[in-house]
Structure formats: structure tokens, C-alpha cells
Amino acid sequence: MRDDPLIFDQSQPGRRALAQAPLHAPAVDDIPDELLRREPPGLPEVSELQVVRHYTRLSQKNFSIDTQFYPLGSCTMKYNPRGSNALAMLPGFLDRHPWAPELHSQGVMACLYELQEILARVTGMAGVSLTPMAGAQGEFAGVAMIRAYHEARGDRARTEILVPDAAHGTNPATAVMCGYTVHEIPTGADGDVDLEALRQALGPQTAGIMLTNPSTLGVFERRITEMARLVHEAGGLLYYDGANLNAILGKVRPGDMGFDVIHMNLHKTFSTPHGGGGPGSGAIGVGERLLPYMPVPVVAKEADSYRWLTEADLPRSIGRLSAFMGNIGVVLRAYVYARMLGREGMARVAEFATLNANYLMHRLRDAGFQVWFRDRRASHEFIISLKREQKELGVSAMDFAKRLLDYGFHAPTTYFPLLVPECLLIEPTETETQEELDGFVEAMVSIREEAARDPDYVRGAPYTLPVRRLDEVRAAKRLDLKWTPPGAGDGETEA
């Protein structure tokens, strides 16, 4: 019954969280008036209890791994160990200034160095840099290295990056950010890249190709070795989008497949939390050819101590992608996770992620849902299409997704990859139980029954969440992007 008004609506002039600000403040009499602000900033004025209560209550309005099964495809929503959080937040780590001298940094640098080594091993690459701050920045780093490589060889004709049409949106966007044009390669009916199209696309203009394998379609590109050969013969390099390394961790290594550079989403495979949008860490690994171009800083070990490699050590580096050394707090969480898993644990990740995906795929198929590549193995994820349900019952993939929320499950990824109509991309991850997967199947079956009885009901979902279905069109048309004080207009801008 009670809503949660905006924190601004709870504000009263002069109210404060008094324990949190200095008791007194000296006059700022040395700064000229014309440089000072005239009005206090528009921040809320509330008590400490109001803040705690408000944000605690808001948090309860979220679905999360800690509260729900969250089979969001391409996102690897698996358990984020609480140990990783607690240990990355030890005061010694939290309080370390990024410019602290190496003398005061050997503890954290040991962790970074060892994670670099571990990631190099599991990917089969020659070197690793941990600085990219998310997958997309890892992609940027990788493609920028490809560019730097060609440029260093004076090979300036290579202006194009190939991207399969099934690729994640960041791939083409990254290529463009690196100054390339994008050439899309179609996917064959079996889910593999159309090899003939690839052959035709390759040429002296080809800088490289960005691939995910298993692809975002959830299947393993079987002719990967041949593709690698083709691209390399054409003078291009191969970029591995390893956002979802969960599919192969401990089973196959991108380095062995012939890739020259890879990024990993530590916030997926290495189970650092997604935090409602981030932060991530898009560590990159490179083969020998690209070693000189890695983004800095990187940690090196010399005798028994660690030091930062910077531009001075790697003069051909593509440079710095963040002011400091990337998202070290995230990297530390990944390190703790990697150490807890260890060799044996890591080998099991792909095994059980794949087991769960194939099990769920089979159960849904047996329940009569259309598995998109029904003759293929699922990797860590798979696709079902609700085209038939849409046609016969008038209930779309989005309707299923919203109704799943009522059943206490987060929805799978909807309408991605764009190639498959009315699709759900489902990634159960290895940390869910068989019972949880069974519950999901039951919910899907039950929703289909509801749809057969009363499609409007399903189209009206969700019913049990803090809000019913939101009007996204209105959100984009009548832009309301910030609170404005009552009387100052409604804050909306007609678009």
C-alpha cells in the first residue's frame, strides 16, 4: 500500500544526517566570490534513518541472484560468493591510494599478478592486462591492439572488421569506436557462421574478425580452426569475445583455437557481482604477436617483488584506458573466486554450466517448446522461440518474460540474438540446482496453459511486482529524466 516516494519528496529544508558531516567548517575566504556557487546544490535534505529506510526498501524491489533464479542469457548470473566481497573489501585494499608507492602495494600487486597468470593459463594466451573496466572496454582494447599491430607493420589498408550477424551489440559498436567499418557475416541455418560468406568477405581490407565461441546463439562454432586459418591467411587477426567464458572454462582454450586476442568478463565467468549495471572488469589476453601493445599498467614480477609495467616498459602499448589501473576491486573479487575454485573447480565450471543448459533445454523441448537449434548441443545457454505461442495464443516472448516475474523467476534475455523471432536466450549457470530448473520448466508450462485459457491475463503481467507493465514508449517520448521541485513544472520534456 505504501509507495516509496523519491528521496527528494522526503526532503525538508534544514534536515540533516548529523553524524555524517563535519561538525564545523572553516570559512572559505581565500576563494574569490565569482568562483563560488550562489545556491546550494539541489540535493535532498533527509535524516540518516530516512536514507537507510529508503534505500533498504528500494533494494527490496529488485530481483537479483541472491533472491531469484536469474537465467538471463549472455549474462552468466551465477552465485557471487560473499567471500569474494568480504575479502576484496578488507580495509588494506579499500584504503590503498592508486598512487601509493610500490613499496606499499606488494599485497595487492601479488593478487593481480597471480590472476594475470591464471587467466593466461585458462585462455591459452601469452599475456594478460587487467585494466579494461568492462567487456566493451576489453573489446576496445583488443581491437585497438589489432589496429596498432597493423599500423606498426605499415599495413594501413585494413579498414574493416568482420562481425557475425549474431554478435553482441558491443562488437560492431567497438569496431566503429576503433575507427573501423563493420562488415556483417551471416549465420547458417545450423547456427555456425556461413563459411562461404566469410571467405568472400575476407580481403586486404580485413583487419580482423570478432567472434564469440560458443556464439551468442548458444552453439559452438565447429569449424573454428578453419576460420582461424582463413582469417590469418587473409592477413587479419582474430578477436575472441570471451564475455561468456563460462561455456568453455577448463574445457577449451581460445588460444588453442587460433585467436590472437580475447577479453573476458570477470563479472560473468569469475562471478564478480553485476551490481545492477556494473562495475565489471574486461581483462584481456593476447598472443605473442600482440604482447607489445597491451594496455598499461600491467603487473610484472621481478625476483620477489612486483612492479608496474607502464608506457616506459611497453612503448608500443595502446596506452591507458582508465586514470588508474582499472577496476581493481572487481579484479580482487575475481582473484578470490579463482583461488577458491582452483584448477579442479575451474575445470568443472563449463561442465556443469553446460549440463544445466542442456538439461533445461531438453526439459523445455520435451514440454513442447521450440528449441531453436534442436539438433545441436547447448553450450552454457540456448535459445527457445515462442513464435508458435505468439501466433497461436497471441502471447509474445515479452509476455512470457513478464509473467515469469510473477512466478518468482527473472526472465531470460528477450529478443536477443536478433536473428531468432520471439526468442528467449536462457542461461541457467552451474550454480543452480536441478530443482530450480524444474521449477522454471513448470512455470513455463503453466504460463502457456494460462495463455491458452486467457491470453489477456498473461499480456497484463506482471501482477505481483511493485509496478505493472511500464509504458516504455511514453518514457522515451515524454522524457522525464530527473525530479523537479513541485511547482517547477512536471520535469517532462516533449520529445
Binding site: 555524517q20 578488507l90 597471480e114 574445457k251 545492477g276 584506458l321 583461488r339 516475474l405 509496478v467
Partner: protein
């Protein structure tokens, strides 16, 4: 197999349901020669207890120094409530709020964040975060070039007093699109741009202005803003959010105000944490909202007319627009923004103003104490905020090393970027520094300089 719940019975039942003999079958589409990878060299698994012991030792090894470094990252008091709330599972372990109805907590918080940031900067709109301050500047530059439809050039001019690392990062990123940054042709005097002696900048798409600048000095920001606007450029402000509690917000700079504002969000409740995760903020005038990179949250209504929040203007983003997106950014720094929003709500306008004033007062006091030492003096005069360059009678790197050996991180070595400043350091004393801490530093510096024969 930590974190994997499967019992042997489960595995057997699941393989049966799949119709597979053993787990290896599930990988049978992968060419045999690629399989059977060895993980030699990856250490054996440890229990949480064992990792905890290791991490505690390592964290302790790096702890305990007294820190007077700023230079882009600032040690502030973070109310306990901030991270006790931020690490709640529902914030911590949620994904990007794609299913709005199941993410109203994060979405409402982000809407509140957007409001707070526009309030601080005096701008119309804010996005929901970028990676960090430096990469946010790169995005701001790309955005300005897209947004400045009038400019017939993509020249971008950068103040010579910008944080050199910010410039490096921006160059690494925008350079990939063959955009080169030029230094704004205004002499640096006393650590700030001498706008009186500025040449005509010539046409440019954008001008990047820091306030305070790298040296902690305050620029004559109104004049600079107007000068940039006269050149047809959009003004990109690079600001410290704590400073904005005191300083004129970019929206009020000059006659028309800055056009795009970016900066490092770390001072707002984010631990130093060796440099990250932090978050970059980005605000702009309403007119440019469609050129913004990153997520934006809008308020709307549900089927029953009830207020709710959702991602909006997604047509700017890579998952919809792919190669035509405003940026490749996808995952941003959501959890950091969660912390910053809670921090700002706890501090409020008066709290944040006091923090800023105390930081500034402490730095003044520190400089007073240090400059009482023979041979130590301020490099620049004129107004500054909460950070200041000092000249030492000995090479900065050597002095800093000696201080570090005694547990004091004395400042940032300005020789790193400028040979003519090899005897200069940048010092900062925020509100967490006490008089005692400052006395300790001053005492130690005196001793160290004496030992070095200064």
C-alpha cells in the same frame, strides 16, 4: 567443486533426461583436438578460510600508511550506511535493469542519482554512469563532436592544465577514431590558464576545461567558457564533485554555461581501492541528450497509471543500434552509483559543503605547516581547491621514497609529467586528516630533508 550444487544423483538424473552417457558427451561438437585442456599452473582450490588468511595477510601488508596524495582520487569519510546498504544482495547481485518491473529499486535510485548530479553540476540531464572520470572525458569529447552540428571541424582543444593522465586516456580512446587533441593556446601562468593572454582559439568542436585543474588551481572559468563559446566550441567541464558543493556549477559558467560536464565520481562515497572501481559521471544540456553515451533512466507510468522507472532512449545504445550507437559501453559502474547516491543523500547540500570546506581548510593548514620548513614553498599563488603544488629543496621522487619508508605517502610526484617540476609534489589533505597527522608529516619531512642535507 565449490558453488556447484549437483550431487552425483542429480548428475545422473540430468544426463538421463538429456540422453547423454556422461558429461563429456555434451562437448562432442567441439573438435577433439581442441578439448582436453590442461590447467597446469593454475593453483589448487582453497577453502574460503584459506583464501581469507591469504587475503588478510596481503591487505595488511599494504595498510597503515598516512596518505597525503590526491591527484584524481581522494580519501573521504564514507558513512558506514553507504556500503552496508550498497552490498545488500538485491543491489549487489542484480544485473542491468533490463526487466524494469523487477528492477524498480535500482531504477528509482538511478533516477534519483541523475537528479542529484544535475543538481550538483547545474545541468539538465545526466546519464547513469560511465567507467571512470578519464574515460568519461573521452566519451564527452566524442559526444561533443557528434553534438556540435554547427562546427565544421572536429578539432578538440584541451586546457594545458588538465590532469595529464586524463589527457592520455582520452587520447588513447578518441585517437582510435583518428581524433587528435590539441592543447588550448593559452599560456599557463601560476599553474592556471592566463586567459588575458589567450590567442584566438580558432574554430573548434569542443574545448575541455578543468576546474579545479590538475594542480588544484582554480581557473578563471567564466572568461574561459565564454572564449570557448565564441570559438563555436562546446565547453566540456571536467570537475570534482565534492568541489561543486562550494564552486560555481558548470551550468553557471560564463554567459551560457558549460555544455557537457564530466568527472570522476569517486569522491562521493567510493573507497580509494587502488583506483577502481570508481565511476565517471556525465551531464549535459537537454538538447544533447540523444548524443549521450550510456544508460539513461526515465520516469513513466505502468498499465494502471502508477509511477515507475525504466531505461529509456535505448536507441542510442549498442544493444539496439549496434555499429551506430553513441558508444560501445554496456556494463557501466552501477553499484558505485548506488553508493554515491546513498552518500549524497546522507550528506545533503550542507554536509557536502562542509566536507569540501574542511578538505580545503586542511590542505591550507598542511601547506602552512610544510612551507614552514626551509626550502619548501608553494609553486603557485592564487586560488586553489583542496590540493596544492609544493616545491621541495630536493628531488621529489627521492623525498617521497624516503617518506614512504617511514609510512607517509607524501604526495604526488609532479616530475612524472614535467621535468621542470622534478622537485615538486602535489599534496592534498581531506577531511579525514587530523592536525596530528599533518604535524607528523611535517615533522617527518623536516627530518628527511635534513638527512638529505637540504
Amino acid at each position: 567443486m565449490p558453488f556447484i550444487p549437483h550431487t552425483q544423483d542429480d548428475v545422473r538424473a540430468m544426463l538421463d533426461a538429456i540422453g547423454a552417457g556422461d558429461p563429456e558427451c555434451l562437448f562432442d561438437e567441439i573438435p577433439a583436438e581442441l578439448r582436453g585442456v590442461s590447467l597446469d599452473g593454475v593453483p589448487a582450490g582453497l577453502t574460503e578460510q584459506a583464501v581469507a588468511r591469504l587475503m588478510r595477510e596481503r591487505a595488511a601488508r599494504d595498510a597503515g600508511a598516512l596518505c597525503f596524495i590526491g591527484a584524481g582520487a581522494y580519501r573521504h569519510h564514507i558513512p558506514a550506511a553507504v556500503w552496508e546498504l550498497t552490498t545488500r544482495g538485491e543491489f549487489y547481485s542484480a544485473y542491468t535493469p533490463y526487466q524494469a518491473e523487477a528492477s524498480q529499486g535500482t531504477l528509482q535510485l538511478l533516477y534519483e542519482y541523475q537528479t542529484m548530479m544535475t543538481g550538483l553540476t547545474g545541468m539538465d540531464v545526466s546519464n547513469a554512469s560511465l567507467y571512470d572520470g578519464a574515460s568519461a572525458l573521452a566519451e564527452a569529447i566524442l559526444m561533443a563532436i557528434r553534438a556540435n552540428r554547427k562546427a565544421k571541424t572536429s578539432r578538440v582543444l584541451v586546457a594545458g592544465t588538465l590532469h595529464p593522465i586524463y589527457r592520455q586516456v582520452a587520447e588513447a580512446i578518441v585517437g582510435a577514431q583518428d581524433i587528435r587533441l590539441e592543447t588550448l593556446d593559452i599560456p599557463v601562468r601560476n599553474g592556471a590558464l592566463d586567459v588575458q593572454r589567450a590567442g584566438e582559439p580558432g574554430e573548434a568542436a569542443a574545448v575541455v576545461l578543468p576546474q579545479p585543474n590538475f594542480y588544484g588551481r582554480l581557473e578563471q572559468i567564466d572568461a574561459l567558457t565564454d572564449l570557448a563559446h565564441r570559438a563555436g566550441a562546446l565547453v566540456i567541464a571536467v570537475v570534482n564533485p565534492t568541489a561543486l558543493a562550494l564552486l560555481k556549477p558548470p551550468g553557471d559558467w560564463g554567459q551560457r554555461g558549460a555544455d557537457i560536464v564530466c568527472g570522476e565520481g569517486q569522491p562521493l562515497g567510493i573507497p580509494l581501492s587502488s583506483g577502481g572501481p570508481y565511476f565517471g559521471f556525465l551531464c549535459a544540456r537537454q538538447a544533447f541528450v540523444r548524443q549521450m553515451p550510456g544508460r539513461i533512466i526515465g520516469r513513466t507510468v505502468d498499465m494502471d497509471g502508477k509511477q515507475g522507472f525504466t531505461l529509456t532512449l535505448q536507441a542510442r545504445e549498442q544493444h539496439i543500434r549496434r555499429s551506430k550507437a553513441t558508444s560501445n559501453i554496456c556494463t557501466n559502474q552501477g553499484l558505485m552509483v548506488t553508493a554515491a547516491t546513498i552518500y549524497l543523500a546522507l550528506l545533503g547540500p550542507e554536509g557536502l559543503r562542509r566536507v569540501a570546506a574542511v578538505c580545503h581548510g586542511n590542505t591550507r593548514r598542511l601547506c602552512e605547516l610544510l612551507c614552514a620548513i626551509d626550502g619548501v614553498e608553494p609553486v603557485h599563488d592564487g586560488p586553489f581547491f583542496h590540493e596544492r603544488a609544493l616545491r621541495l629543496p630536493r628531488p621529489a621522487a627521492d623525498v617521497l621514497t624516503r617518506l614512504a619508508e617511514h609510512g607517509v605517502q607524501g604526495g604526488y610526484d609532479l616530475g612524472r609529467h614535467d621535468d621542470s617540476m622534478a622537485d615538486c609534489i602535489l599534496v592534498c589533505a581531506t577531511e579525514v586528516v587530523t592536525e596530528e597527522d599533518m604535524q607528523q608529516y611535517a615533522g617527518l619531512l623536516r627530518t628527511v630533508l635534513e638527512e638529505m642535507g637540504a
